[in-house]
């Protein structure tokens, strides 16, 4: 018999999976965003070989479905005798994807800083590193923050994909619960509620931050 209490029971059983999902997302963002900043800077660098290598990494990270990246690390690497755990494989795949999408966001935000700003910084005698740190980066950050937060929400949603490599996140827990109770519909709707409870408020937050940061742009 399906009662609201049973349903909320399902939601509770999925919460440990939510912790895993948040860990996966958090670590991937912590690794992926700095990588994206490095990639964005290198893409505008002078060394041609470096530019091509970075561009290839970015395009692979964005062009290949994350599901396939997950399989490449988890099912593919054992072919060359590297056997990562499900969590490690997931971190690698998600970091790569985050770095790929993040690079595009950061690059376009760096480009949106007006040329005059750089010229003025040069004219007042700032060193190149200081020009980047004190003039370009703060202005670019204001533009990049909302889309980077949006990317974080997308990555959190995508953490559901780690289900396919047996990582016990929300979907894996839901599937297990489904096979145990045969109440697939309520169980998967409970999973949907868990995701929505994070993403819908988070999206609203991003919108309001976007509005505030955009005020002086």
């Amino acid at each position: 018999m399906m009662t609201p209490a049973t349903w909320f029971g399902y939601v509770f059983e999925l919460l440990p999976g939510l912790v895993t999902a948040l860990q996966l997302t958090g670590i991937s963002l912590l690794l992926g965003y700095p990588l994206a900043l490095i990639f964005a800077v290198l893409l505008d660098g002078k060394n041609r070989v470096v530019r091509w290598v970075v561009l290839a990494l970015v395009e692979l990270g964005r062009g290949i479905p994350l599901l396939v990246l997950l399989y490449i690390f988890y099912q593919g690497l054992p072919q060359v005798s590297i056997i990562p755990s499900a969590f490690t494989a997931a971190i690698w795949a998600f970091t790569w994807s985050t770095a790929g999408y993040g690079t595009e966001i950061i690059r376009s935000s760096l480009k949106s800083v007006p040329q005059g700003q750089l010229e003025a910084a040069k004219a007042v005698g700032l060193r190149e590193s200081d020009r980047f740190r004190f003039v370009v980066l703060p202005q670019a950050a204001r533009i990049a923050i909302p889309p980077l937060m949006g990317l974080a929400i997308i990555m959190f949603q995508l953490s559901s994909l780690a289900y396919v490599i047996t990582l016990s996140e929300v979907m894996q827990s839901a599937y297990f619960l489904g096979t145990k109770t045969f109440n697939y519909l309520p169980v998967f709707l409970a999973a949907a509620a868990v995701y929505a409870a994070v993403t819908i408020p988070a999206s609203a937050l991003v919108t309001s931050i976007e509005r505030r940061l955009g005020r002086h742009v």
């Binding site: 062009g63 599901l67 396939v68 690497l77 559901s160 994909l161 109440n183 519909l185 999973a191």
Partner: protein, 211 residues
């Protein structure tokens, strides 16, 4: 192995095109509901869009495939994939249309009114062509994303590329080769599409943006 995996491309294309087409049609309704005069309709549409976009596609796929079967609606994996991606696409494309509508100046509709055009003519000859022009680059970008999402259909047993690569891995142990092939096929489709979208976008900007 390459040919075996490539055969799955048919399903990838069918699911992507099918989901996109249905989504593009239903999306018109979603966009119309989002800007409806009735407040209740607007709220329902808003909730529909937010809930669909707030939950990962994989979850919807499982709700439709495993969940609906439990209440008596048994769909094949392929039907479930088409239905799920159509619903998801309707929400995203609906929002894209709405953005295009918002970008269209109010004066366009008012001018058409004052020229004595009927509601249908205004929609078909004034609003739609202009909105489609502004939103088409975003639609292509969404289509590329949808194509990548279609890989999820492998999880419920649609024999597309990712599913086949999994079979190959289990039979031969050559997972890296198999999934690298899948990745390469996706890149071979998404990169040219992306370049094309950018070019269309640039052309629109040059031609149609008035100051």
């Amino acid at each position: 192995m390459f040919l075996y995996i490539l055969q799955g491309l048919v399903w990838t294309v069918i699911i992507t095109v099918g989901g996109f087409t249905f989504g593009a049609v239903v999306g018109v309704g979603v966009a119309a509901a989002r800007v409806a005069t009735s407040r209740i309709v607007r709220i329902i549409a808003r909730v529909w869009v937010d809930v669909i976009r707030g939950v990962p596609p994989l979850v919807w796929l499982f709700v439709v495939f495993f969940g609906l079967a439990e209440v008596g609606l048994r769909l094949t994996a392929f039907q479930a994939a088409i239905l799920t991606f159509s619903l998801i696409a309707s929400a995203y494309l609906g929002e894209i249309y709405r953005g295009g509508l918002a970008a269209l100046g109010k004066g366009q509709v008012e001018a058409a009114h004052s020229l004595g055009l009927g509601r249908f003519d205004i929609l078909a000859r004034i609003v739609s062509p202009q909105v489609l022009r502004t939103v088409s680059p975003s639609m292509v970008t969404y289509g590329i994303g949808l194509m990548k999402d279609s890989a999820l259909a492998s999880t419920i047993g649609v024999v597309e590329m990712t599913f086949r690569a999994n079979q190959v891995t289990q039979n031969t142990g050559q997972g890296l080769t198999a999934f690298a092939i899948v990745g390469a096929i996706y890149l071979a489709m998404s990169i040219p599409l992306g370049v094309w979208a950018r070019r269309v976008d640039n052309r629109m900007r040059e031609k149609y943006v008035v100051a």
